[in-house]
């Protein structure tokens, strides 16, 4: 049997590891990493960068050691780490590693565009509420203070019940009071009432309350990258309080196939970890100027909030908007302000 050339494999692997390290370093230096990874994930990327450099250099040193000193150069289980197959298979395998490095260096780095938005389906507003919940929001604002406390206890005990005896708990909620059968798809969200949100997330609620207050204080609401998703959520929760107020948003242009000539959506991709999980959030705009802007143009919209609807869903609509073309912002994506990490 032909001897397995540990030295050569260690050598090539070391160089590929250094290649990955250089690619990541390049992304970080040019700041193009923002097109791929959310800022919250960056510590992991730095970890990978450092590891790649260290491991790459160690691999190259490993390749300079004599093959005879076998114990030193390979681990106990080297047998199942060896690459099997004829030379072309090995070439193929290393190409799989080299290609992403070359792609990363050569192909242009850019943000996702509206064709992906069309495919993923756009979410109007924040997407945390939908259907008629915004109407409920206003109808139930009066009650919510009194309900909050009661519901809070209720939920705490629900969670405790579940933790203590998951089976029994699941048994006990087999017939929840407000779900007769499970609902058809367009009713599915109706029974998430505003009390639930307010009761269960006091912290988030306080946060939104603050944002809402800030927005009400402003002459014209200015939506930035940082507060984008917050403002979208607040607009959904409390649309009625903001009707008539002016708002400025920057985003890219997007249209549903059935839009009228004066309609467009000003949208942003929201990224949690990486672009694979990016979702599109947009606001409907109605303006005579809309016709002048192609899809994927970055625009600044200044309009007045009205309660409108699209496809039977109530949502904020910006009317009488003035639209200007702008440069793509430095951070084309927006990120959830609550970090899961």
């Amino acid at each position: 049997m032909k001897r397995y050339d540990h030295r050569f494999h260690a050598y090539i692997q070391g160089i590929i590891l250094l290649g990955f390290a250089l690619l990541i370093l390049g992304f970080i230096i040019t700041d193009n990493i923002r097109y791929y990874i959310a800022p919250d994930m960056m510590p992991f990327i730095y970890f990978a960068l450092v590891m790649f450099f260290i491991l790459g250099i160690m691999q190259i040193f490993r390749s300079t050691q004599k093959d005879d000193a076998h114990e030193g150069t390979s681990c106990d289980c080297s047998a199942d780490h060896e690459m099997k197959g004829p030379p072309f298979v090995k070439v193929l395998i290393y190409s799989i590693f080299i290609l992403p490095i070359l792609f990363g260096f050569v192909l242009p780095d850019q943000a996702l565009d509206s064709s992906v938005a069309a495919n993923r389906g756009i979410q109007f507003g924040s997407g945390i509420l939908n259907e008629d919940s915004s109407e409920k929001a206003s109808a139930e604002t009066a009650e919510e203070e009194s309900v909050t406390e009661e519901d809070d206890d209720n939920d705490l005990s629900r969670a405790e019940a579940y933790l203590e005896d998951p089976d029994g708990y699941l048994e006990s909620i087999k017939q929840p009071p407000n779900t007769d059968e499970y609902p058809s798809e367009d009713e599915v969200d109706e029974h998430y009432t505003v009390e639930d949100i307010y009761a269960e997330q006091d912290d988030i609620d306080d946060h939104y309350e603050e944002v809402a207050q800030e927005m009400l204080d402003q002459e014209s609401i200015f939506v930035t990258e940082e507060n984008y998703l917050d403002i979208m959520s607040v607009l959904d929760l409390r649309l009625d309080s903001f009707v008539g107020q002016e708002i400025e948003i920057i985003g890219f242009t997007y249209r549903e196939p059935d839009f009228l000539e004066n309609q467009l959506v000003v949208a942003r991709f929201s990224m949690t970890c990486c672009t694979a999980d990016a979702a599109v959030y947009g606001t409907l705009v109605e303006s005579d100027e809309a016709i002048h802007f192609d899809d994927d143009t970055w625009i600044h919209v200044h309009g007045t909030i009205e309660a409108g609807e699209y496809d039977g869903m109530p949502m904020p609509v910006l009317t009488d908007a003035t639209i200007n073309q702008v440069e793509e912002p430095d951070t084309p994506y927006v990120y959830p302000s609550f970090s899961p990490f």
Binding site: Y35, Y36, Q110, G127, I128, L129, Y182, C274, A276, F341
Partner: protein
Amino acid sequence: MSPPENRLFTIGKDLLGIILLLIFLILFLNFDRLNDSEMLNDIPSAWVNVNTIFLSIVIEAIPFILLGVFVSAIIQIYISEDTIQRYLPSNVYASLFPAAVLGAIFPLCECAIVPVVRRLIKKGMPLHVGVVFLVAAPILNPIVALSTFFAFRTDLTILYSRMGLAFFLSIIIGAIIYIVMKNEKGSVLRSTKSADDHHHHHHHHQPSGFTGRMRQMSYHAVDEFFMMGKYLILGAFIAALFQTFLDRATLMAIGGNDFTAPIVMMAFAYLLSLCSEADAFVASSFSNQFTSGSLVAFLVYGPMLDLKNTFMLFAFFKTRFVLVFMITVTIVVFIAVLLLQMFLL
């Protein structure tokens, strides 16, 4: 030591590596210029999107793969076969429960868990226990719970269902795998048995000293990274193709009714190959069109089994086991979601 033509061959190999390194360096130094260059602007935007999503998945998964191979390396060097044997209950079914709990303690996502489980099985952990660990760990962990909480803060039953199902189903899946595979002779791991034996005879030594162990660990990690990495990269590429070209509208058209919706969402979860830490946000983007039950199906099935994960499983385990595993997970999750829909949601 080597005849002349062999030496020439060696020089050629060295040269190859140097050329490769030079290419990387030149590309690195021209990073900005390449990105702005006009000639590449002709690439259809769809393919640029594929590239963006592909690189994004690869770069995002790599740190977790590295963590996984390091944990695996630590297990390889510091935990002996005896330790594992000693701490596991000898009763088959009694050992399933602690495995699920262990899965909840280790915050490993689905990329990192495959090498770890493989190592544990190699070290003598029974297969069914490893399987419980494999499906439970990516879902039952605090980060996943937190992101699910935020994504579905309007409906916490989704969070409870996800965590509850993950816990019970992992035990059920482990038990089924035990029943199906108990008569299987030999290891389910894909490895050359003879080579393994050979190695045990020769140098079954422990590396000496701290630096020796560190060096050993890093070699080990690199070898394993190259074993796993190729499957991850292939999986990420195919997932990126699906993400770009798969028209969600067509699948959604099938997804209307209560029976087919979970199937469609499970297919989505499989093809999209999202990280379990972020998939809840994607699932919430479907909440307008799909039933809660099918969202739970998406959130439970995806971390247990997805496209990039399948590639890695096929690399490490024998085909028969991977097929049994995939069929078991699919059927168990589907039935569980149907029951959940019928009685709870």
